[in-house]
Structures are given as C-alpha cells and as structure tokens.
Symmetry: D2
Subunit: 357 residues, 4 copies
C-alpha cells in the first residue's frame, strides 16, 4: 500500500524552473510531478526529452496546467514579472503554491498574493526563500533561539555572485527589480527571520549606495553591480547588506549574526567541500560557482518540506507576509541607491520626511 | 508508468542496519525495501513500528529473508562475524549483495566471498566502503586522476572516533578484528583506490604500534585505543595510518594524498557545517560527532548507486577483490601491533622473514 | 664605533603611552629613549621603576620634555584632546613627531598640525596609523599594487573591540570623538591608502546608523556601541565600515578589499596564533584579546621605521594630510549616525544639501 | 649608563650562519656581535660588506675567533660535521655556546659535547632547537602543562620542506646525517619536550620507511626524500614522524599533540600571514616558503633568550642532554629506514634483538 503523493506541477522551465522540476521529479519521494508549463518552445523540447517519457504532461499555457486532472499544487518558477499573477491564479483554482522569490518587485503587488492566500486559508502558500532550508543557516538559527549569542542586534549578510562575463545580468536587470530585490532579498528575509520580525517588520530607515564597477550598462536600467545597504529597525537593531555580481572565486554568500553575548558566522570562509589543494602558490579551497551549487541541498529540502506541509496539513515554515516585508525593504534600498537619498519610514508602514527621534 | 524498482532486503538491524534500512526506505527512489531480518527481538519491534506499516516484511531468520517473494538484492548489515556467510548465502540464492565492511576479519574468509561472487558473474556484489561515495573524497580522486598532484606517493589517513565513555567498544573489540580492521580498513581502501592498486596490492611490509591510553581493558582482547601503522608498497609508495577511539571533539577522519607535484587534504580541519561560533574563548567550529554524522550523505549515495548498478546492469564502483586486500593489510597491521614485530611480504601475497632488497 | 641613535621622548604614559615608551626603550635598536613626560603622578611612579634606572629622564610638564638636552624627536601618546597642541609645540621646537591617532577629533584642528608641519619641511611628522605597518596589511597592499585584484572598488573593514565589562569606554566616549573617530579611523585610513586617495580624498556622501546594544549610557555622550557606515567616493568607489565594542571572542579587526578581478581578505577569520584546540564542543581558535595583542608587532615596526626616517632623512610612509581626511570622514559619519541624516559633500571639501548627480 | 652587553662571535657564515650573525647584529639589544669566522672566502667577503663597517672582526680560522679579545660567547653555525668540535673548543676556552642543531650526526659524538659542558658548569651551553622558541609551540606547551588535553599520549609531527628543484639537498645528504637527523630532529625534540622526557628518553622501539619520490640520487647517500617513522616509549606513548623534501606549497611543519582529554594542533593548515586571496579557482592562502620564513621570529627569540641566560646566569631553556637523545632517536630511525628492520632498545639505552614484553 503506497502512501499518498502530492500531485504537483511546475510553471516555468527556465534556469530555476528546470531545477525545481527535476527536484520534484527525483528528490521528493512524496511528490508526483504530473505536469509542467512554459511558453518557451525550447524549454518544452527539454521537457519532452527529460520528463515526458515518465508521463509528465507538458503545457504551453499556464491555465492548461492549472486544469490538469488531479493537480493539487503548483511550483511557480517562471519570470518574476508573472510570479504574482500565476500564484494568485493557482490559489483561486484551489492549488497549494510554492512561489519562487520575490513574489513581485513591488510590495503592493506582493501584497495581492498574501490577500489572495488569506481568502483560501486551507491552502499552503509559501515564498521559496531557499536559505531558510540550508542546514547551516538552520543550525545558526537554533543557536540564536537557544540564546547562545544573547540578543541578536547587528545582522550583516551578503549575496555575491560570481562574475558572469556574458553580461546576461544586464538584460535581466530590466525585470529583476534591481540587485537589492533580486539578490539581497535573501539576506533581508534572513534578517527578519533571525530578528524575529517575521511578517511584521518595523523599519525606521534605509540607505544604500552602489557602483557599476564592471558593467556600466546596468546604469541605464537603474541598477548597479555592487551595492551596500543599511537598514535600521525601530527596536534598535541594524542590518548591513552587500550584494555584488563581480566575485572572482565563486558564489560568496556569507552572513554574520552579532548578538550581545556572541556572534555566529555562516560560510564566512566560503568553501565548496572539504578538499584543500596544496600547490605552488599556497593552499587553495574551491568555492561554489553558483547559487545553485551552494544551495542545491536546501532547494531539495524546501521541496520536501513544502510537500510534507501540503500532505500533512501543517503550517508552512515561512510566513507569507514576510515575503512582502522583504520586498518593501529591498525596493526601498534600490530606490535609495538610485536617488542617493536616505529613506525614512513613519512606523506604520508609510514613508516619512525626517528621521524619527 | 512507473519505472522498475529494485526489491531489496536488509539483514541485521543494529546501529548500521537501521540506517541502511531507513536509507533504502526513504532516500533511494529506485529501491523498494520489501523485507528485513534480525535475530534480535527488540530490533524486530523497532521494525514493526517504523517499517511494517508501509508493508515491509520482518523476519527472524535470514534464510526466510532470502526466500522473500520477488527479492532481488540484499544489504548485509549484520554483525561482522556473519558478513561472509550471509553474503555467500545471498549470492548462492541469486541475489545482488551490498555487504557492510569488512567482508570478514581475515583475508582467507574474505576471499571466500570473492570466490562465491566469481561463480555468479551476473550478480552485483559490493563491499560498502562508504568513503568512496563521499563527494570530497571523490573530488580529490578526480583531481588525482587529472594529474593535479603528479604521482601520489605518500598517503596519510586517519579514522578517529570520539571517545564513547560507555566503553561499548571494549566488548565490541572481541569481534571487530581489532582497531586496524575495524577503523583503518577505510583508510586502507582509500589508499588502494588513490594508488590505483584496486584489487591487486603489492605490499612489501607493515609495522604498527599501539597503546591503551584510555581503556586498558582493550589489552585483553589484543586491541588498543590508539594505533599508528606504516605500510610499504613494492612500487615505492608509503602509507601512514592513525586510528583512535579517544577524540574529544568528534569524529576526526582526515586524509592527505601527497604527490610529486602537490598535495590534497580532505577534511584536515574537521567541521560539521559552515557555522562558526564567536564566543568567550575564541572562535569554535563544531565537528561531526559520529562516523554516521560525517558520512550519512555518502551512505545514501552508496545505496543509490548500488541500486542503479543492479537495475542498469553496470559494474559496481568498488572492486570486490580490494576488500580482501584491505583486510589482509589491516589484519597484518593488527598482528604487528600486538607482536611488536614488523611483518614482511614476499611479493606474491605470502609472508617473508626478511626485508626484500 | 656605535652608529648614531635618535634621541626620543614620549609624552603621555597612559595605556598606549607606556607601550610606546617600552617600544622605543627595548625594541628600536637605533632609538635612544631619553625622556618621558606625564602630568599623572602614578604614571611617573611607573616610569621611575621601569625607565629611570636606565637613565631616562621623567618630567611632569610637557614643555620640560621639549627642553630636554639633545632631544631630537617626540612621540605624542597623551590624551587625544592634547594631541594637536603637543604635536605643534614639538614641531615649533624643531623636533620630529610621531603622533598617535587621531590628530584631533575635528578636521579643522587636525589641519593645524599639517599647517605647522608644512612650515618646517625638514622635520618628520607622522600620524601613527599602526595598521599600515602590519605585515598582512602590507602584503595585501603589495598585491593590490601588483594588480592582483584589478581596480579596488569596494572596501569593507571593521574595528571591533572585545566587550570591556568595566564600561571604561563610556567615560572615554566624552573625549574620543565617538566610535567612528576613535575606532573606524583606522579603517578609513586603510581605505584611503588602498584606494590611492592618500591626502586627497573626494568623498561624495556618508551615512551611518548605530545602536547601544550593551551600553545605553553611551547615548548621553552622543555615542553608540555598534555602528555601521557607508562612504561614497566621487570616482565610483564605496566603503562599508563596522565598529563595535561588543565582541565576545576578542579583537575582531577584519578587512576586505574587493576589486574588479578579485578580492583580498585580511584576518577574516581572526586568530591569535597557529594553535587549534580540539576539545568537547569542537575545534577552537583563540582570538587576540585587544588591539595591542593584534598589532603589537606593527607598533614596533612603526617605531623602527619612524626612527629610520628621522635618522636617514627619508619621507615618512604615511602622508600627514591623510590623517586630516580620515578625521573629516570619521567625524561626518559620527554626525550622520547621531542626526540620522545622510551627509553630502560638494566635491571641494565643503558640505552640500543634495546628492550630486 | 648603558647596560652590559654579551660579546658574541658567530662561527660559520653559510645560509644559517648569516642569519644568526644578522640576528645578533640587529635584533638582540643585549648582544654585541664582535667577531665572525669562516673558512670560505666568499662568506668573508659578505661579512666585509655587511658587518665590518660596524666594527665586527672577521676571521678565517675558528681558533682566532675564540682568541678574540673579550669574547664571551659563541654561536656555532658552521657545517654539522664540525658542530661538536667547535662547541667543545669554545667550552674549553671558557665561552658560552649556542650550537645549531644537531650537535652531531651520531649520539656518541653528541655526547662528547654534553661531557665537555659538564666539566664547565658555569658556562651556558644550548643546542638551538628553534621551534621551542616559537610562540605557537609555546602556547601549546603551556596548554599541555595546564592539563587542557589530559595526558599527552600520541605525538604526530612533520618537517616538510618545499621542493628545491636545484637538488641542493642531494649533495647535502652526504653530511646531514639523513632526513631523520636533519629534519625530524626538530619534531623529536618537541616530542621529548611535550612528553616531559627532556634529557631522559626511554624508547622501546623505532621503525621507519622511506622512498625517493623525486630525487632517486639520494639513495646513493642512504637517504630518502620522503620518510615516515614510528617511535614507541616505554611509558605507553607513541610518536609518528613525517619528513619530506617535496612540498609544492611551501614549508609545511605541522604538529598534533593528542591527549586523553583533547588534542592540540599547531599550524595544521599552514599559512604565511592573515591574507586570503579570492581569485578564479577559489580562495588561496600563501605558505611560508622556507624554514626560515616560518621560524625567523623564533630564531630571534632564541638569540635574545640565550643572551639573557648568559648575562643573568640563569639556566638555558633546553636541556643539553635532550639534544643527544634526539640524535639517538633520529639516527636509529634513519638506520631502520635504510635497513628495512625495526630496531628495539633494552631500556638502558642499548639495543635489543627482540621486542620487550
């Protein structure tokens, strides 16, 4: 007697979509990948070779995916611009939803997903903040919860990609919401998590600066390739973000959580594995080349746990409201970086002209 | 249309047996755990709770397991003393076999498994040297193969367990073959692998020394809690082994492969994950507490790949003859440690009285 | 025939003054410590025991020190409030000067030292930015100069002291100029050095935030115990500073210089020495407990090289104007942190109301 | 009133001799380098340029050095073959002696130095085991003494030089006593120190193996370029040595002291300084290129402390008898490596034919 499995479909088969599809296909024992959809003919060709032989249905239109017989859940892994629409359509069709980050590039649109989900409380709707499922970040979180570092007060975190000499990310910048929304969103989510602000952040101010050190063309899309940000919370905590698309060694995503009694570092000396190479020039450790290399195990855990939540009817581990708060902060940092001005908040989610005393 | 799955049974549900059973149960999509066997009533009770609800059959007798309808493969995870008998019985019954290390505590008995397997070349028979499936050891192997360090010439490796204050390992020493056969066998297998001696080692001499630093009672079973060994190969390569049951920090299994042009270190600064704890006293990194903590992912890969070999009819990645060579070396080191004498080989697998010139 | 030695006096025998005095006394073969001065009776008592037996003169008044027969150079290591006055008096008296950082807590007063020095070009006048004499920072600088990381574009650096539970730094905050002027001044100097802006920085804006996580009383002196700052340079480079008085493990002064082709980290995993302690709980490395522990060798090198410059009539390795630029940036960061406002510069050293486009 | 200084001469101005001479010349405030001697004309030329201008006398003959007016101490840094003779001549002439390691390549000749010193107890005679003056080794020693790791029981240590492609060490092997006497002597001395066996070691057995992986010509001088050794002590402690002349990255001298309650590692991940280079290929740390690079600070401390002992009439920190014990062990390891046989001791310093029970 086989246990029940979650019938899931994946929308979008771009870089991340393929990975999500393969994850549900191979690495989630309790999930049954039954269908995928993508408007891109080449991506459908890939699916025909990789997935169709095992009976996975392939659709051009997302609406057809939603109508797939017996479908219970959808993983939205399409372009950011349609995340919110597709998530809301799935919710309205009564499907559980795992939506890639960010929900949208503005907090207002992101909020519409939360509102839709609120109308269907029986559904599981989660934004895929993959880092929350990484075992090192979880170990650090458990240590914070256990009081090991006292009150976490300063949070410093970076998402730094290896330089892609193809310049792919320039074109991508038009739609990504900018480097703070695309990259630092992960660090912002972590800050909200570690600071216990899930779903309810009280930001006082943000400020940011950025440069185009290697890709001047980013400027025309109001983006930068290296940026630094500061976020102040009303309860006396501060956040420092760094995002970059210029790393030479690989993906360097590091985090420090500094408390009144100690500090935790996560991946502060990035490493791909336990091998050290002693050679002319010294001792070398390799670094994961991509975000996926660093977090592929976390993505698998995310898929497994989302599936478990749907099947067991338990709450998802990431509050959906947090995904809105993270976009609000990320978008404000992006605005501050471009305008050159510090942005103040009034404590009720609105803007203020002046610092609050 | 679901793909074919390998129907597998697990023999023995002790510490390692439970882990193997759960691995095949949960983490190997192409395997179907259909049955388990153990003479121990408590272990069967565990299986009734954990496995029976999903339809896994539970047997007291190993022979009944072998007769289970449709069984195609067996994982032998019982006490070392019965490894060889159970593996041979399974082979004779026409089952693929994954046998926990060592095949036996003597090379002669180990060879009987190889001989049995040779009579059934259509079966997959593999000794489970888990470290070969660890991604860091594999990365190091690929780098050696790529010529990164020139000719690997000196191999230094250790298997050092955290001190178990219960003294469990004293009683265990009666049956384990001793610390070199129980612990260093992994390092010996790695040396044979990295030196390209798989299945065909040409050892010139071994010598070893040991002490009982924390557990004097080990002496009565001709065992030690800390031991060092040297192995000389006929082609001018040397091996240095360290095994211990006395570590304070955790499982410290480290390896260095030293070649004419460079050196590779694997896990030379043991670490459980990417978290660093800054606290009074300094910066601390946690260490895996057990062999399982360190290698659980490798065990899962081992199970997945063994399953693939059976289903796809491809060669297993570890030559069975190597498992005999490793026991021969380990047993000779144990003998040298106890007798205090260096042991010489004649180049044809036999002993010699003198060093060969 | 003994070589000529530099006759030097040390003003101030507080914590740092004692160290400077002992350095010149013991570790600078070409220097002759001939006199010290301090208004503090206890400090003079210390000098009577430690220095007087070897013939070092002890003065209560700084002016008497300056009049000491044959004195050629002065090390100003007194309270920050009198740095500038004492340095100028020494210059006017025709003495070479090594002045502890900062020259003063405002750029205006700092500039008066530069002006005084400009009138006596034959004298060596240097602000003691000790980190420039550390061998790791120097190695990193040489690598930057050699082009190893392309154009240095992002500079991240921190000066983080171990928590002093005595609260000494609260009283100290009244006179220190604040945490950015007292601590981050080192990081700012390094940024100017690595960015090639020595003596001539073109800052566009600064912004900062801070909190009192462990010492609320700091607020009454307009200071904080943890602060983060951003500095934008006109030529498209950015700086990120972190300063703290709350570290649990020890002095954590780390720096990252990020260029278009690579990155250099200095002390990113702080360590006191090469010892690693394997114990229950994991593997631990100790961290220097104080700034002095971390940089004592650099202070000795600073003293040796300053002495050599005086005796050999060669230029000092740190431009004096840089010390003013560093105070200007540090004081602006402190102001921004307290006011909550971002501060803009007009490109000519003056303030602006708006970001420059 | 200047303090008294120790008038010292240096014998031998080869690689190490030059360093010792410069050390006493520049870095030892209480020493006065008054004379040097060397039979080598080129080395005397070097001394004429570097030392003579400051009044250091230069001799061709060692006997003339000993007759230098007012000479109080000698640093013997000549070829190993004349260490003992020169040390004894200095002792007989009433000079304090700092002798480079080893005293000689045989224990018998080494003992003659101890005997000569015993007849002149008022003189300070020390063998320069530089590692004892390294701050990390000292920190580890203090921790052992404080009981941090329980009873030190297993000692693993290596002296591994970077490959010198000139093959210099082949010719050198004729006179060095072999790799165990030349390189591992340091590790043996450390083992005796940490195990509390200073001057009085009770070895049960030694065994060793070696290969010529990169320099086959070494075989003709009965030497090897990579060797491993085991040493057993009568009180249940064991030592594992590794020495090599083949490292690619640099000087890799690492040590582990393993006790019943913990373990200390010294330099287990060798590093030249605190800089980390992030570049294509990963993160790299440089390694000291030579023994001198790694230990130059220890050599300076050694010179300072030896000078202090002579001037203050305090005991030298390294027992002279230990230097004999270290040579005895090193020479036996070398013999075992070449003969292929394990060597047993009878507990009274003599050899035995059989292992003692």
């Amino acid at each position: 007697m086989a246990a029940a499995k979650l019938k899931i479909g994946v929308a979008g088969l771009g870089r991340m979509g393929k990975r999500h599809a393969l994850n549900f296909f191979q690495s989630v024992p309790r999930a049954d990948l039954v269908a995928v959809s993508t408007p891109d003919a080449q991506e459908r060709e890939w699916a025909k070779e990789q997935l169709a032989p095992s009976g996975v249905a392939i659709y051009e239109n997302y609406d057809d995916l939603l109508r797939h017989q017996g479908l219970e859940a959808v993983c939205v892994a399409s372009a950011t611009a349609v995340h919110a629409d597709q998530a809301i359509a799935a919710i309205n069709a009564g499907k559980h939803v795992l939506c890639e980050k960010p929900l949208a590039t503005t907090p207002e649109v992101s909020q519409t997903v939360v509102d839709a989900a609120a109308r269907r409380p029986e559904l599981k709707v989660m934004c895929g903040f993959s880092r929350r499922f990484d075992e090192s970040y979880r170990d650090a979180y458990a240590k914070v919860q256990a009081g090991l570092i006292g009150r976490p007060s300063v949070f410093r975190s970076q998402t730094c990609d290896m330089l892609d000499p193809s310049g792919f990310f320039v074109a991508y910048a038009q739609f990504s919401g900018g480097i703070f929304v695309d990259c630092s969103i992960h660090d912002i989510d972590l800050a909200l998590w570690y600071f216990g602000e899930d779903g309810d952040s009280k930001v006082r101010s943000v400020s940011a600066v950025g440069i185009t050190a290697v890709e001047p063309d980013l400027a025309k899309y109001n983006d930068r390739d290296n940026a630094l940000g500061l976020v102040e919370f009303a309860d006396g905590r501060i956040v420092n973000l760094y995002c970059s698309r210029m790393m030479a060694a690989g993906q360097e995503d590091t985090t420090e959580i500094i408390g009144t009694k100690g500090k935790l570092g996560v991946n502060t000396q990035p490493t791909a594995n336990l091998v050290r190479i002693h050679e002319a020039g010294g001792i070398r450790q390799e670094v994961p080349q991509t975000y996926w290399d660093r977090f592929k195990k976390a993505f698998a855990t995310e898929a497994v746990e989302f599936t478990d939540c749907c099947l067991n009817d338990t709450p998802v581990p990431v509050k959906l409201q947090t995904a809105v708060a993270a976009v609000r902060i990320g978008a404000a940092l992006q605005e501050s970086m471009i305008s050159g001005r510090k942005i103040y908040f009034d404590g009720n989610g609105g803007r203020a002209d002046e610092p609050r005393s």
